[in-house]
């Protein structure tokens, strides 16, 4: 069995706040195989975005990662900034959530994609221009009008997201991290982006780390899923198993609380009704309690145990 492309072992991210250090991510472990797709599922505050930013080396100044992130055998935690920059874009690409604010407001589409190419390749201006057009065609933006000279304010939401994806794949990375790429989009655009990511995966052999709270998207795009809550992994494994036979109370609550088409339920279960011990405000929040063990309950299924005292 080949080594995974991304191997995260007990990664923690500590935030230095005014009231002392705080672990926003606690000992997260997961693997992404080559050409595999793993979804990081959770709600706000779960730590999924911070984990992704830690992998990409984009944490802010007040956030410190500890633990190990092995990317193709190389240790990313503590890596010198210069080497990090070589990897960023060239081997790990990032698709951000809000293309309107994550793309430069004044530079043109061509100029922005160009920046990534300049950082990693020794190409002539002509070669870069050709590559830009090639990339735009790959993400399906060539049959509409020529947008290389446009600024992002002149593009629609769906087009902006595609530009974002084009930028992320511009230097042929092996891993794409996508942070809620479909959340800000309409349903039909969402579908286009999901399909685009799937086709790119196939064509370019990319691995995908997809951060989302949308279980439907997870089911359709990723073979594996990691469920996060309170900064820790609560369950992970094969997507189908997780969604149809969830072992952890939180995962169960998540799956049950989403309305689906054709749903005949009169009331939706919530975390409070499915797993009262998690949301009980009289108890210490899970994020502040000591970590329990992760146990393997099936070949591709791990769950964090909830000991007797948690369920009290």
């Amino acid at each position: 069995m080949t080594a995974p492309l991304l191997d995260i072992r007990e990664l923690s991210v500590t935030a230095s706040t005014a009231s002392g250090p705080y672990d926003a991510v606690r000992e997260v472990s997961l693997e992404i195989p080559r050409a595999g797709a793993v979804a990081m599922v959770g709600e706000s505050g779960s730590g999924k975005s911070l984990t992704a930013l830690a992998v990409a080396g984009l944490l802010g100044e007040k956030l410190t990662p500890t633990g190990s992130i092995l990317f193709d055998g190389e240790e990313l935690v503590g890596m010198p900034a210069a080497r990090r920059r070589e990897i960023a874009g060239r081997r790990i690409g990032f698709v951000f959530q809000e293309p309107m604010s994550s793309l430069h407001p004044i530079l043109t589409v061509g100029q922005q994609i160009d920046e990534g190419l300049r950082a990693h390749y020794d190409m002539t201006t002509r070669q870069r221009a050709d590559r830009v057009r090639e990339l735009l065609a790959t993400v399906g933006l060539s049959n509409t009008r020529d947008i290389v000279g446009d600024r992002i304010g002149q593009l629609s939401g769906g087009m902006r997201q595609r530009v974002m994806i084009a930028m992320a794949i511009s230097c042929e990375p092996e891993l794409i991290i996508a942070d809620e790429p479909t959340t800000a989009l309409d349903v039909t655009l969402q579908r286009q982006v999901i399909d685009l990511l799937a086709s790119l995966r196939e064509r370019l052999g990319l691995s995908l780390m997809l951060i989302t709270h949308d279980l439907g998207v997870v089911a359709e795009t990723c073979e594996q899923a990691v469920v996060m809550y309170g900064g820790q992994v609560v369950e992970r494994g094969d997507t189908r198993t997780l969604l149809h036979e969830p072992a952890h109370d939180y995962t169960k609550a998540l799956v049950l609380s989403i309305p689906t088409l054709g749903d005949t339920r009169r009331r939706l279960p919530t975390v409070a009704s499915v797993a009262p011990w998690l949301s009980d405000t009289r108890q210490i929040p899970l994020a502040d309690r000591p970590l329990t063990e992760m146990s393997q309950i099936a070949p591709d299924h791990w769950v964090r145990s909830t000991t007797a005292k948690d369920a009290a």
Binding site: D186, V187, R191, H213, G216, E220, L261, L268, T270
Partner: protein, 259 residues
């Protein structure tokens, strides 16, 4: 039986410049029965929010009629609008922007009562206590300010505030879209409970067809300013007539995944 709300050929156009006119809403008609929820679903640019604003009388329609309990409320003078506002309240999407950060929860909830001069100060105080408990927040919330609350809790505050005047119809414009999934479930449950308890009617706007289907009795699908399909909730999903509706349904990623 007269419907609680009747909308007939409602239209809204915006004149952007001399040559450029945007027809945001083109001739939309539907009815909402008392105690029922009408869900308006569509993507951005479909005009659904504009319809909501016209029903809530925040925007004047360019043409068309809005009838509430049989009376034409399309062109109201100020006094009549005041009365209408007590019957029809609106809940917005953004729980962070819609609440004045300098006011306490109690002040926010009782503000509509103050504006419409209903009840004495002590009446208002006890009403605030009732409402805050009804939406599932502790009474201690009353003295705090919005900044102390999460998105879901702020949305509950907005709902409490909307209930203050005992309205008959609540227009909810994407009330759960900005919320986390599990919180969304709580707020949706709350809306249903309140509907049963107070006999409320809802005009529920959303781009999320699953959510709309869950909460609504009747659903209308909007596309580019027009109401292209309408039906009871089960029918829309089981038997979509229009190709757009079908594509909307098919586009939704489901837990089953694609085969």
């Amino acid at each position: 039986m007269t419907a609680l709300l009747e909308v007939e050929n409602l239209a809204k156009s915006f004149q952007i410049s001399r040559k450029h006119r945007v027809d945001a809403v083109k001739g939309v008609s539907f009815r909402i029965e008392e105690g029922q929820t009408y869900g308006l679903v569509g993507e951005s640019g479909s005009g659904k929010s504009t319809v909501a604003r016209m029903v809530a009388r925040l925007t004047e329609p360019t043409s068309g009629v809005v009838r509430f309990a049989g009376d034409d409320v399309t062109r109201l003078d100020r006094a009549q609008r005041q009365q209408y506002r007590q019957d029809v309240q609106i809940v917005f999407q953004d729980p962070f922007g819609a609440l004045n950060p300098r006011m306490t929860v109690e002040e926010l909830i009782t503000e509509p009562l103050v504006v419409h001069r209903r009840g004495t100060a002590s009446d208002r105080g006890s009403r605030a206590r009732d409402l805050v408990e009804r939406v599932g927040l502790p009474v201690s919330s009353l003295a705090r300010k919005p900044v102390d609350f999460s998105g879901g809790q702020r949305q509950r505050i907005m709902i409490a505030r909307a209930l203050a005047l005992q309205p008959r119809l609540i227009v909810a414009d994407e009330p759960v879209s900005a919320l986390d999934v599990s919180v969304q479930a709580q707020v949706l449950n709350l809306l249903k409970d309140l509907q049963e308890e107070f006999g409320l009617s809802y005009l529920f706007i959303s781009h999320d067809l699953s959510v709309v289907e869950f909460i609504s009795d009747q659903i209308g699908v909007m596309y580019l300013g027009e109401l292209i399909e309408e039906g009871a909730k089960r029918d829309i999903y089981a038997n979509p007539q229009q190709p757009y509706t079908r594509s909307l349904i098919e586009a939704i990623p489901t837990i089953e995944g694609r085969s």
